[in-house]
Symmetry: C2
Subunit: 164 residues, 2 copies
């Protein structure tokens, strides 16, 4: 667990280390994320951008596969919750409860998925209570929005302190 | 394109060949589906079952990754439309327009996804018109329903005969 707070004085090096840890967590525990070559690329405390190349993620139309688009957006949302937990030193297992996705345009080049953090108090986790967070993720290709995702994430406190 | 009709006289060999072609189509055009080792296993004209092993599809909780669950259910729906097009000799490019997914229970063993064909007339495709199909897919593990998926699929007629 990295012990940092995100402030204006936050160094680029610490952000890079945090994103590197996130990427390694994905690739070492979720084989599909490694195959897809999903990588976080930008985080400023409120906004996270995550990308994946087209090549391992194509479909038979040579555009990005609907399943890959969904997975990229799911991990973007998951990654944002994980990053916020690191910043607030809150501990919780993050799961996805449900999601809606809309495919607006074919993705013909490497896209990036973007999510903004809606302020959500994560402190209940450290008091043994679960936290629910609804995240909106958008996927862009050449700055054109190609897909949208709304997901309900739940972070569950470690079992030894869980009270609900 | 296989030229068959699904009747009571349909031989197991022809169904096997049809599912083999579906599997090869997925694995040769969608690299993620091959990595996930997604395979159609049962088709009786109205019902399709598709599976994938847990190992390449785990998450950091050692259960099935939410993105893999979604992809398995998406391809189950796509596969059903593809199979019905083969049976009715209709030609169309199948895409997913939107979807909703709910995760009900962790998937701890190899699951299977199941979809039932709601009668939908595919003949408009051969008159150059698109067809929309809403499919409900359920994912089971040890006969317990662990996830549900509702997807709106659209099949687009070949461009040279498309009129909408």
């Amino acid at each position: 667990m990295l012990d940092i707070s995100f402030t204006e004085a936050q160094s680029d090096a610490k952000v890079t280390a945090l994103l590197q840890t996130l990427c390694e967590t994905w690739h070492s525990t979720i084989p599909v994320s490694q195959f897809m070559n999903i990588k976080p690329v930008l985080f400023n405390g409120d906004s996270l951008q995550v990308t994946a190349p087209l090549e391992p993620n194509v479909n038979l139309h040579h555009t990005m596969f609907a399943g890959s688009i969904y997975t990229l957006m799911t991990l973007t949302g998951w990654g944002m919750v994980w990053l916020q937990q690191q910043l607030s030193q809150a501990h919780g297992d993050i799961v996805l409860a449900d999601a809606k996705v809309r495919y607006l345009k074919p993705v013909t080049k490497q896209p990036y998925a973007k999510v903004i953090w809606p302020y959500t108090d994560l402190n209940p986790l450290n008091r043994g209570r679960r936290v629910k967070i609804t995240l909106e993720v958008a996927l862009y290709c050449d700055d054109i929005m190609c897909a949208t995702f709304t997901g309900q994430f739940v972070s569950l406190p470690p079992k030894n302190i869980s009270i609900d």
